[in-house]
Amino acid sequence: MSLDAEQVKKIAHLARLEINEADIPSYAGTLSNILELVDQMSAVNTDDVEPMAHPMDANQRLRADVVTENNQREKFQAIAPKTEDGLYLVPQVIE
């Protein structure tokens, strides 16, 4: 499977990446290579193989339901670009 320029742009948009128009053919090529590798792997018969959710052969450990974090808003907001009334301010998002 090989990707065209439109698909590369869409992928970049979904990842919120800005890319140069001139670089698109190269991205299309390298991304397509990855998909080809996936195609090759798909050719392997995996009928008897259980899908793997995680490479570690272990189960999730669970945490006790206890509040262990206290308020550190000041510290967190000291490194935020902009805050007001305790809120983080971001460029306007309107649905």
Partner: protein, 477 residues
């Protein structure tokens, strides 16, 4: 053309844990912005999620309560999208292997019809933060206190065929999650939210029409209205030669209309994949049995028992078992007063009306079950009439003490001495000779007039049954 409506609901129930699903920050409602958003919730580099044991237990409890398959092996996945109320750039959710699959619920409609609604799945996920679009100099304010609050997303089959069915199903889930103690059901605070997938198709057609998703409808009333108005819109659109597009729509309660929010991103744009930060959650039979042992008597079972044990109608039993607190209150009153039907009538009458009027919950009812039972006993033993009881109830509500104290203090004891009642009857007949003559001439509807006069003369304290009996006797003399 006859149209058929097809509705599926996605309900988000916030789980009543102490801490977040993947971090140790509190989920208490109403805190100052961002004071309950820790490094994990903010998605700072290097943090790792650690799953809350209670969130898992509550999800399993829900699954067992609806007779679903609780997965022995479930997996968390990342749902990727960019929005500032979700700083990581993805929501941790479950995709292919949710914790709960294939359950069902029975709903009952107003006319008594029952219907089974399938629950496709319920999965664990984290809630997002809140965006405030108000005046921040053209910027958006973000509060991440809610980010990471555990959610159980309960997805129904497209089994509902009317807004009424959808509301009945939603109420049923709402009642159930509170019964089993996993969600406080507070819709005003957003603890219980609903999205509705609505489509229409010509009656008899097998395939579904294109659906619109109505977002975040925050009351039962609005769910009904939003669905009805959306159905109307879709039918009008199709009949005018148009086409329904798959999109997310927002219900505007003020204008009673739905409007397009954004076209639904293609499902694969979320690029789900297993979250490498979390291992599969494995539950064994022993664990599930232990959770099952903690389930309380469920609403349907309780309703059937109420019908059997207290001789209530199905409708009454259904109303009394909607909430566990109300059901417990009723049972206590029924037991203490030994007058179950009277207790049921009072619960659905004065008690519920007074609670509604004062916007109170049954657990905050100023008249305790013991007090109500005490009053019902006085109705049963003829100390007071049902009418006077309303006065007693109001006094108890106002904090004037229990029924006996109120009856005593206010001198409300019913007059049951037949000679005293006879005297009142004689007096009223003597004072109204014209009406008495008319009655004797056959104008029997004047009976009500006489009863009214006598009750008034006794300040409501005469025993109504005795009044009726004596009055009939006297007037036919």
């Amino acid at each position: 053309m006859q149209w058929e409506v097809v509705i599926g609901l996605e309900i988000h129930a916030q789980l009543m844990t102490n801490s977040k699903i993947f971090s140790g920050a509190s989920i208490a409602y109403g805190a100052e912005p961002n004071t309950q958003a820790c490094a994990v919730d903010l998605g700072l580099p290097g943090v790792l999620p650690v799953l809350n044991t209670e969130a898992v237990r509550m999800a399993a409890k829900f699954g067992l309560a609806i007779g679903a398959n609780v997965s022995r092996h479930s997996v968390f996945a990342r749902k990727n999208y960019f929005y500032p109320d979700l700083p990581k750039g993805y929501q941790i959710s479950q995709m292919e292997l949710p914790i709960v699959e294939a359950g069902k619920l029975e709903i009952e409609l107003k006319d008594g019809t029952k219907k089974i609604i399938g629950v496709t799945r319920a999965h664990l996920e984290e809630d997002a933060g809140k965006s405030l679009h108000e005046d921040y100099h053209g910027m958006t304010g973000i509060d991440l206190n809610r980010a990471g609050t555990p959610l159980l997303e309960i997805v129904s089959e497209p089994d509902m065929r009317s807004a009424e069915e959808a509301v009945a199903y939603m109420r049923k889930i709402h009642s159930l999650v509170q019964y089993i103690g996993i969600c406080d059901g507070n819709m005003a605070e957003g603890s219980f939210r609903c999205d509705a997938n609505v489509s229409v198709r010509p009656k008899g057609q097998a395939e579904y029409g294109t659906r619109a998703e109505l977002k975040n409808i925050n009351s039962f009333k609005f769910v009904e209205k939003a669905i009805n108005i959306e159905v109307e819109r879709q039918i009008d659109l199709i009949e005018d030669g148009g086409k329904v597009v798959q999109e997310t729509r927002l219900y505007d309660a003020d204008k009673n209309e739905t409007r397009s929010m954004r076209s639904k991103e293609e499902a694969n744009d979320y690029r789900y994949f297993p979250d490498p930060d979390l291992l599969p959650v494995v539950l064994d039979d022993e664990y599930l049995q232990a959770v099952k042992d903690t389930l309380p008597e469920l609403p349907d079972v309780k309703r059937d028992r109420f019908i059997e044990q207290y001789g209530l109608s199905s409708v009454d039993a259904g109303i009394l078992t909607v909430s566990r607190e109300a059901a417990d209150y009723f049972e206590k009153v029924a037991e203490l007063s030994a007058a179950a039907k009277l207790a049921a009538n009072w619960m659905m009458g004065e008690v519920s009306a007074s609670l509604n009027k004062n916007d109170l919950d049954i657990k905050d009812c100023p008249v305790s079950a013991e007090m109500l039972a005490g009053m019902l006993k006085r109705i049963e033993d003829n100390t007071i009439s049902g009418k006077i009881a309303k006065e007693v109830f109001e006094a108890m509500w106002a904090g004037d003490g229990d029924a006996d104290t109120v009856i005593d203090k206010k001198g409300l004891k019913q007059i049951t001495d037949s000679s005293a009642i006879e005297a009142l009857v004689d007096q009223v007949i003597a004072n109204n000779p014209v009406q008495a003559a008319e009655f004797k001439a056959g104008k029997e509807q004047l009976m009500g007039f006489f009863v009214g006069q006598i009750m008034k003369a006794s300040q409501g304290k005469a025993n109504p049954a005795q009044v009726n009996q004596l009055l009939k006797k006297k007037l036919s003399e």
